[in-house]
Structures are given as C-alpha cells and as structure tokens.
C-alpha cells in the first residue's frame, strides 16, 4: 500500500517568506507527527496529532511554527517569516495505535532551504 507522502520534496524560499509543507499519512493511521532533521540539532520532534485530541505542540521551536490536520488525515506545517535557521529536512510520520504497535512510518521529507 501507499506510504507516507510529503510535498514538496524541496523548497527554496527567501528569508521572511511564509512556507507550507504538506503530509499525507498512511490511510487509517490515527497519529501523525512532524519532526525536523538538521545538521546541528539532529532529529527533533515538533508536533503530534492523535485522533480528535488537541495536538501536542511541545516541540515547536517558536510561535512562527504551526500545524493543522484536516479531517483526521492530511496535515500542513506552516512556517511564518522564515529564518535561515529554519533550513532543515522536515519529516512527517504516521502510526496506528491498533494492537499497540506505535511504530512510526516516515515520509521522504521536505528539504527546506531559506536563503
């Protein structure tokens, strides 16, 4: 079956612009996660959606970052007024809590470059 997909695969933007990154999770997965992978910081958790519960935003680095998940499926991560330190690969993952598996399946990522 189809895995997690993300778009765009690459995004170059100018400092100060807003960007939107999209994630399509595996069909039927109730949990969706956003992570960021950068050279200096490694892999960091950003935000987590589980079903209809309020999202866990504890990993968002600043109020310029936000995310939403519509209809319990597709998610969009928005970064406002981008800064050079936002340059990273943004990864989306989804998981099913059926049978308490909790393993997360990752998309290919969106490489964001802020110039």
């Amino acid at each position: 079956g189809a895995g997690v997909s993300q778009s765009p695969s690459n995004k170059v933007t100018e400092k100060g612009k807003d960007v939107e990154l999209r994630c399509d999770p595996i069909s039927g997965h109730t949990a969706l996660y956003w992570y960021r992978q950068s050279l200096g910081q490694g892999l960091e958790f950003l935000i987590y959606f589980q079903g209809n519960s309020a999202p866990d935003k504890s990993g968002l680095p600043s109020d310029r970052f936000s995310a939403e998940r519509t209809g319990g499926s597709v998610s969009t991560l928005t970064i406002q007024r981008t800064q050079q330190e936002d340059s990273a690969v943004y990864l989306c993952a989804s998981s099913s809590t059926v049978a308490l598996s909790y393993e997360q399946y990752f998309g290919p990522g969106t490489r964001l470059t802020v110039t």
Binding site: G42, L100, E103
Partner: protein, 111 residues
C-alpha cells in the same frame, strides 16, 4: 523524561565482519525502543522494535538487538556486514508518543 545516548558517532567495519552499534536509554516508564536506518538521501526505515515482548528482537536485513533492562541498553548487532549496510543508524525511545532520537551512528563498511 526520556533520552538516548548512542555511544559512537562513527563505526568502521570490513565487509563480512560483525557489526555492533551501541545504545543506552533513559526512560521513566517501560519504553518502546526502536532502531531506524537512513541511507544517504533516503528516508528513515524501521529496522526493528522492542515493545516489552521478547528481549531479543530480530529485524530486517539480518540485524538484531537485545533489550537489557539492568544495563539500560539496546545495542544493535549483525553477524556479517554487507556493503549495502553503510548508512546512518538511529536508536530511538518512545513512551508511546513522540519519538526521541539518538544523535546517530554512521556505519562505514569497507571492502
């Protein structure tokens, strides 16, 4: 709070020799533990997982890991390295929510 320490940033082996990638974890609860692999310019792929069943876990491509609670370790092993194993490996801990990643171990395999 949970954390993961990968003890080696780089490990070099020759093809056909054993692989050992070391990982220690810290968690307040009975954690789930994972190893993920990332090949150059590729996404993260799950190698294996431990979720409180058997302590010796077998994964894909001949890898396995042993959960040792007394040592808070979850080391990854493979009896014989293959050139295609060259990649970055991440040890990961989860209390059934967001994953906490180690800083990664780059595995280099020479002919």
């Amino acid at each position: 709070a949970q954390s993961v320490t990968q003890l080696d940033s780089h490990v070099s082996v020759s093809e056909g020799t054993p692989v050992l990638l070391r990982c220690n974890y810290s968690s307040s609860y009975s954690p789930s533990l994972f190893w993920y692999v990332q090949h150059p310019n590729k996404g993260l792929q799950l190698l294996l997982k431990y979720t409180s069943a058997a302590t010796l876990v077998k994964g894909i491509n001949g890898f396995e890991a042993e959960f040792k609670k007394s040592e808070t370790s979850f080391h990854l092993t493979k009896p014989s390295a293959h050139m295609s194993d060259a990649a970055e490996y991440f040890c990961v801990v989860s209390d059934q929510g967001p994953l906490t990643f180690g800083k990664g171990t780059m595995l280099l395999v020479s002919p």
